[in-house]
Symmetry: C2
């Protein structure tokens, strides 16, 4: 393993491994439900050593992970396809449009990458229980990876969450704890759980390994693209951790001397859940009072990783764009029809964004653009079903 330190994304203070577990103790206030996290930690490697150790002929991304390989679960997370989407590209006037389809992770979403690394850390720390608050992809992902690794997932969830969303957790043997309250209440209880009863907390951005896990998607894009940095990557943004992970991948690659630029990182949000978009545009951060979009996986009032998400866009010369629900559902249809990829609504915001990008001529036609598909369409069939009408049935002669 390459040596690393934790650095607070807020105050810049440095911590050694095992000196700190979740947030920067100097910046972390008592958690107030509905507020973003304070003092999210980022990981800084000894990049000189990383550069010496990495061999392009036998690329091993385990070197870029802050943990010894022996702790990684034997579960096939990642290695999802990157492929050119010629017909879809043509539709948007782009000659070089690609899809990275992370809906083809085992539990159906990119979240498996974060669960994978936190479960590895739990093994190192001899923790058998991993705790999270979630109604959706993070929970089913944690439950799956825990089952594969022989760990217990403990999921706090608002009692109002649809049963269908809980199915995968229960089948995978997770302990599901419904909470008579909001998501914020569930989140607070999950933090209390690990403080009082132990276990490792996997909440997004709260555990710094969630960002490191998600960065593996960026490392894969780089390899699959022949060790070349694409011109731009479009990322669906909710709490800001996936976009931070994508940024961290290319940051690490640059620091290790394996590449000389960042791709433009494009933030795509739902109009009614766009706290990070507003923060990027204005520089002033404010929580949303409510958030309501068909793209449920990126619906969030107080994104946990707003600072790093903003940094990703600004440092990479990217930009941010919002789309409304009708545009998102149209994006899902265009993506399926022009590429055969069935993505959940949240993962379709980038396609909706492409339509606006085309109108605004924000890309030149020959740039290499990558759409990051973060979740499978089968995750939510109810939402698109509302817009479907079947043709009339024919008689049998």
């Amino acid at each position: 393993m390459i040596p690393f330190v934790y650095r607070c994304t807020e105050c810049g203070k440095e911590y050694k491994r095992d000196e700190v577990k979740y947030l920067c103790p100097d910046c972390e206030n008592n958690y107030v439900p509905g507020n973003p996290l304070r003092g999210v930690l980022s990981i800084e490697f000894d990049y000189e050593e990383l550069s010496r150790a990495f061999d392009k002929r036998i690329p091993c991304w385990d070197l870029f992970l802050p943990i010894e390989s022996k702790y990684l679960p034997n579960f096939p997370v990642g290695n999802t396809p990157l492929h050119k989407a010629g017909i879809l590209g043509k539709h948007f006037g782009l000659q070089n449009l690609w899809i990275k389809n992370d809906g083809l992770n085992p539990s159906g979403s990119l979240k498996d990458r974060a669960s994978y690394l936190v479960v590895a850390e739990a093994s190192r720390l001899n923790e058998t229980e991993i705790v999270a608050a979630s109604t959706g992809n993070a929970a089913s992902s944690l439950s799956s990876v825990c089952a594969a690794a022989g760990k217990k997932a403990i999921i706090y969830v608002p009692a109002s969450a649809p049963k269908a969303k809980m199915l995968q957790n229960i089948l995978c043997g997770a302990k599901v704890i419904p909470v008579k309250g909001t998501y914020d209440d569930a989140f607070k209880l999950s933090l209390e759980h690990t403080k009082e009863k132990g276990g490792l907390n996997r909440n997004t951005a709260y555990h710094p390994f969630t960002i490191e896990g998600k960065k593996t998607v960026g490392l894969e894009i780089f390899t699959q693209n022949g060790f070349k940095v694409p011109d731009a990557i479009l990322v669906p943004v909710g709490d800001g951790v996936i976009i931070s992970g994508v940024y961290k991948a290319f940051y690490d690659l640059m620091k290790a001397g394996l590449s000389d630029k960042l791709p433009k990182i494009i933030c795509a949000q739902a109009e009614n859940s766009s706290a990070i978009h507003a923060y990027i545009e204005t520089g002033e951060y404010e929580n949303l009072k409510s958030s309501n979009t068909v793209a449920d996986s990126i619906s969030v009032c107080a994104p946990s990783n707003a600072h790093m998400a903003r940094k990703a866009v600004l440092e990479s010369n990217g930009f941010s764009i919002t789309v409304n629900d009708a545009e998102i559902m149209e994006g899902q249809k265009i993506l399926a029809e022009k590429s055969g990829v069935f993505a959940e609504p949240s993962a379709s915001v980038t396609v909706a964004a492409l339509q606006k990008i085309k109108e605004l001529e924000l890309f030149s036609p020959d740039e290499q653009i990558i759409l990051l598909v973060t979740g499978h369409g089968l995750k939510d069939i109810e939402t698109p079903l509302k817009n479907i009408t079947l043709p009339e049935a024919i008689e049998v002669k």
Copy 2:
């Protein structure tokens, strides 16, 4: 491309490429709804040339396909993970149990492999429309691959089929034709469609490339297993085409001199849909009058490829086993809980079969056994939801 001929699995007659398209003209009778197909064609390569052309250091499975590589769609079908399932194996007293997870194909099932090859053949023949009768995985798979390749999928479906099953087809731009009648009526209409209006017919076993496409899963298992034939592969069986494809892979490998044995091929069927099982056990074939199981993807009265399926099991020294619906649902739960893999009920029959195999001591503990997972659990959440109860919600202090 390696030269090949078609050979009738019933009468053994040989045909050249483009001399025949679907079934053996000598054996094909007029299609009678509810009867199995007659004269299914299998493909025989020039195995000496295949052997010369294949290079283990740079394995290219395209060589094993009956079509020029240039026609293959640019769509990432296959390359699904094969991984050891240590905890699941321990549960069944097996030290060397593995999972090939084909639920991680783009449309969520192994059927993508067949669609991929038939769409390639359509490109070669300059056909723009591809026709199938299906209510489930074959349809959504064909619709996805057609969208990626810029072709039109035409899907005949009983009007009673649930809307949710049609969603993926409609989003992918397929033409869906609901039929006031049974699946057999839809099947008959789809055959009439290609006879009268043209286009290529993708019905399972009817087009011989469906078997060839499905065989790629066996070729991948061989490579991922370090060019070694495993001791046994457990396959969920409905119409008998997937199991025939698995057999064909190892048959081709043997004929090309790349391996010296077949794996034991194990047929796992649902008790209430076990026409092939009965045929294997008795040697007498009979259609079922009705078929009713939670494992809807393998529910079939008149399996299209019964002869080849039986041959796969007998020639490989395999065996056949049936399980009931309760055992299938328990199998789905055990698989999720002990491996993190969420499979649809049809893909869980093999896990249910393992329980019986354990009781009957049909495997020795150190044999390398591979479970073929054919479809993702997200394909059908309604069935397992019926058995789920959520724990009581807790109050927030």
